[in-house]
Symmetry: C2
Subunit: 474 residues, 2 copies
C-alpha cells in the first residue's frame, strides 16, 4: 500500500484536493531512468554543439552568422522530428564593433588588450585622449565630483564581488561618469580570473545623459592603472572605437515542438538564446543552452515519449544586447500565455548541473542587469512538487530545487504568471569565459553537458505529462 493511498484513505473528505496528488516517483521513476540513460549516451547533442561552434561560430545580432545559425537550427529541429518548426521574425538592434584600441600613453606607452562594451557609441576617428581617473565605486566617483571628472576618462576598478554584485559598473558606469562630464570610460573586465582576457558585455545608457564611449580592459591593466593613480602618477590613455549602431536588423526566434497527446494547447516551453557576442564561439553563452534544451526535446522524441501537453523548444534571439527575442515570443503567444504550464531557461553554461531555481511572478531580474525585481517564491505545495520531480534526478546529482528561477528570455512569461525554472550549475568557471574569446567548445565537458540534457528532458517531460499544472498546486 502506498503511503499516499493511506493518506488518501484517511483524509479523503477532509482534503480532497491533496488526495489526487500524483506520486511522482511511482509514475515517473522508470521513464526518468530511461531518459537519463539515453542522455548520458547521447552523441548527437555534442555533435550539434560542435557544429554550431566550429562551423557557424559567434552570432551577434545583425550578423550573417546569426542568420546562418537560425536557418541551421530550424533544419536541425525538423531533422529531429519536431513539428511546427517556425522562425517567427524579430527586429534586433544592430551594433557593430569595428576596429578599436586602448593605448596607454603615460607614464609609459603600451597597447592594452581591450573590448568595447556592447551598444557603446564610438569615438572620433583619432580617438579620445585624456587623463584617467580610477575609482573603486560610484561613491568614490560622486565624491570626486565634476571638478575632478570633467574631461577625463574614468576607470571603474571595483573589487570583484561576483558578477551580480559587480556588473553594475559595466552596465551603468558610462552614464554615471558622463553625468559628471567624463569623455569616456574604461571598466575592469567582469571576472575573478583573468589571463589578460578582456570581457565585453552590454552597457545601458541613461536617457538624457550624453552617451560616451566605454570599453573593458583586463583585470591586470585596470589594477596597473589603479596602482599608478593611487601613487600619484598621472595616467593618460587614448581610446579609439569605431563602434556604431546600424538600423535594426531582421532576425528570428526559432521554435519547434512535440505536440501534447491530450492537451496540445497547453505548453511547457524551454530554451536559451541563439545570439552571442562577436567573440569566440558563444559555446557556453549560450550555445550549450540552446543545444541542451533542444537535445532534451529531441531525445524525448527519439524515445517515442508523448507527454500529455506540448513541449516546445525556443531559441530566443538578441538576449545579449536587447532582449527583443524574449519579448517577441511573449507578444507572439498573446493570451495563450495562460496555457503556458512552465518555462525553463538555460543560460549559465553547461557545467555540472545541480538543479533548478524555481519561481514566478514579478519582473525577472536580468542577471547582472539593473532593472526588475527577483522572482517570487511559489506556493509551498507547488515547490514541494518541484522537489519531488527533482528527486528523479538524484542519480546524477542534478535535481536540487532552489528559490528563484528563470532568466532574461523567459522573464516576460514569468511576469505574466508562468512558473519559471532556471538551470543551476556548479558555476565554477562560467564567468571566466563569459563574453570572451575563451568561450569555446573545448570548455564543454561531455559528461556535464549530457547531465544537463538529462535533467532538462526529465523536468520538461514530467511538467508536461503530470495531471496537475505545477503552478496550480496549492
Amino acid at each position: 500500500m502506498r503511503p499516499t493511498a493511506v493518506l488518501f484513505a484517511l483524509s479523503a473528505f477532509a482534503l480532497p484536493a491533496a488526495a489526487a496528488a500524483t506520486d511522482i516517483q511511482k509514475e515517473y521513476g522508470e521513464v526518468s531512468r530511461k531518459i537519463i540513460a539515453a542522455a548520458l549516451e547521447d552523441q548527437e547533442g555534442l555533435a550539434r554543439l560542435q557544429y554550431l561552434c566550429d562551423r557557424i561560430g559567434h552570432r551577434l545580432s545583425g550578423s550573417p552568422s546569426l542568420e546562418r545559425a537560425i536557418q541551421w537550427s530550424a533544419e536541425e529541429m525538423k531533422k529531429a522530428g519536431l513539428v511546427n518548426v517556425q522562425t517567427p521574425p524579430v527586429k534586433v538592434p544592430h551594433w557593430v564593433r569595428g576596429r578599436e584600441s586602448v593605448t596607454l600613453l603615460a607614464p609609459i606607452e603600451r597597447s592594452l588588450p581591450m573590448l568595447g562594451l556592447g551598444m557603446s557609441v564610438g569615438t572620433p576617428g583619432e580617438g579620445i585622449t585624456a587623463e584617467v581617473v580610477a575609482v573603486s565605486s560610484f561613491d568614490e566617483l560622486q565624491a570626486l565630483g565634476k571638478d575632478k571628472i570633467l574631461g577625463k576618462i574614468v576607470l571603474f576598478d571595483p573589487e570583484w564581488k561576483g558578477y551580480g554584485q559587480t556588473v553594475l559598473y559595466r552596465a551603468n558606469g558610462a552614464s554615471r561618469a558622463a553625468e559628471l562630464g567624463a569623455v569616456g570610460t574604461l571598466v575592469r573586465s567582469m571576472t575573478g580570473n583573468s589571463l589578460a582576457t578582456p570581457h565585453t558585455g552590454a552597457l545601458n545608457y541613461t536617457v538624457d545623459v550624453p552617451k560616451i564611449p566605454a570599453a573593458a580592459i583586463t583585470v591586470e591593466d585596470a589594477a596597473m592603472i589603479h596602482r599608478l593613480t593611487k601613487s600619484g602618477v598621472p595616467v593618460k590613455v587614448r581610446l579609439m572605437m569605431e563602434a556604431k549602431h546600424l538600423p535594426d536588423a531582421d532576425s528570428h526566434n526559432v521554435m519547434g515542438e512535440i505536440r501534447g497527446r491530450e492537451e496540445p494547447e497547453e505548453v511547457v516551453v524551454l530554451g536559451g538564446h541563439i545570439d552571442s557576442w562577436d567573440l569566440g564561439q558563444g559555446a557556453n553563452d549560450d550555445g550549450s543552452g540552446i543545444i541542451a534544451t533542444f537535445q532534451a526535446v529531441a531525445l524525448l522524441q527519439k524515445l517515442g515519449l508523448k507527454p500529455r501537453r506540448t513541449i516546445r523548444v525556443v531559441f530566443w534571439v538578441n538576449e545579449e544586447n536587447g532582449g527583443t527575442g524574449g519579448r517577441a515570443y511573449r507578444a507572439l503567444v498573446g493570451d495563450a500565455v495562460k496555457n503556458h504550464v512552465a518555462a525553463i531557461e538555460m543560460d549559465g553554461g553547461a557545467e555540472k548541473p545541480l538543479g533548478f531555481g524555481y519561481g514566478t511572478g514579478g519582473e525577472q531580474r536580468r542577471r547582472g542587469g539593473a532593472a526588475g525585481v527577483p522572482a517570487k517564491q511559489t506556493s509551498p505545495a507547488s515547490f514541494q512538487r518541484a522537489v519531488e520531480i527533482g528527486k528523479l534526478l538524484e542519480s546524477i546529482g542534478a535535481g536540487k530545487m532552489m528559490p528563484g528561477g528563470g532568466g532574461a528570455d523567459i522573464a516576460p512569461l514569468l511576469a505574466a504568471g508562468v512558473p519559471g525554472f532556471g538551470v543551476r550549475t556548479v558555476g565554477e568557471h562560467y564567468f571566466d569565459w563569459h563574453h570572451t574569446n575563451a568561450d569555446t567548445f573545448d570548455k564543454i565537458v561531455p559528461r556535464e553537458f549530457r547531465e544537463n540534457v538529462a535533467s532538462l528532458a526529465v523536468l520538461a517531460y514530467v511538467l508536461a505529462d503530470m495531471p496537475e499544472r505545477i503552478g496550480d498546486i496549492e
Copy 2:
C-alpha cells in the same frame, strides 16, 4: 666554547677533513632567523618590482625600455649601497614584432588572437594564405611527408605534457615543417591553462633549412582547427607578420657587490634576467627573479652582514632570445671563473619557494630548450652540506634541496665547474602567465615574493661565509 671547536678538538687527528666541517645550524641559525625576519617585513623589494613593472614595463632586447631598466637597476644597486656597480656592454639580437595577425578564412572567417614567435621571420606584406595541416607530433608530420605538407601551413597541436616536454614544438616546429616544404607554422600556446591567451617564446631555426614564419595561437583555436581538420573540413588561414631582425643592439648586464671581508676575490654570484618579451610586464619572467636576488643582497647590506667572500648580484640581459648576457658574463670573468664558489639563478617566477635544485657541470639544459644535457649531481657530501643549509629555511618551508640546478644564464658557469643553484617554487601558475600579457605585477603574492628574498639571502650568505667552498666538499 663552540661545539664546532669541541668537535675539532676531539677528532683533530682521527678525521682531519671531516673534523673541520662547519656546524651550519650552530653557526648560521641565528643570523638566518634575523635575515628571514627582515625579508618577511621588507617593503622595498616589492616597491622596486612594482616600479620596474608599472613605470618601465616589458623589456625586449633592443628596446628603449630595456635600456631604461638597465640604467634604473644600476642606480638602485648604488642606492642600496652595493659596490663595483657596473653595466658591462653586451651586444644583443634586435628582433621586432611589428603588426601581426592570423585570420581564419575557411570554413568561417574569424580573427584569431595570436603572437608571432620570437626570432621568427616575417611574411610578405599581404601575408601568407594557405590550407592548414594539423598534427599532434613530429612523427605525424613525418608520416604525412612532403606530398601533404608542401605549400601548407602546419599547425602543431601536441598534447600538453608540461612545458619541458612540449616546448620543442614551439622551438623546432618551424624548421621541421620547412624541411617538408611548409610555408608557415602555427603552434598551440605553451600552457595547460588558457583563457584565450596566446603565449610567445623563441624558436630556433635549423641551419640550412628555409626560414618560415611561425606564430602561436591560443589553445582554444588550435583545438578548433584540429577538430575541423580531423573531421575532414578544410581549414584555410592567412598569417601576416611584420617581424624582422635589425642589426644587433648595444645593451648591458648589470652587476653590483658586497665585497667579501676575507676572500674578496672569491664570489657567490646570484641573479636573473633583466630582459623580457614585449608583452605584459615581465613580472614573473623575470622581474621577480632580478628584484628578489637584488633585494636579498640589499638586505644583507642593510643588516650590515659582511660575508667571508664577495656576493655579487647580476642582471643578465637577453636570456629570452639569445642568451648573450650569460655568455658575456662568463667571458668577462675569464679565468676568475675558478673563484666562483657558487652561482644561483632565479628564473621561474616568485610563487611560494620550496627550495633549490643543486648541481653542476655539463652544459645546463635551457629549460624547454633542445640543446644541452642536464646538470650532474654533486658529491654526496657536498649535497649533504646544501641540505644542511636548506634546514635554515625550514621555518618558511623553502629549504628543500633537489638534484639539478641552475638555469640558462648561469649555464656557462656551470659548464666550467661552478656549483649551481636554481630556485624551485610550487610552480602552480608560472606557465599560465609565461610569455603573455598576463605576466603582470598583480600575480606577485607579497608573502611569497618575500620568502624568495629570504631564501636567496640565507643561501647566498652561508655559501659566501662558511669556511669551505661548497663545491670542494667531498
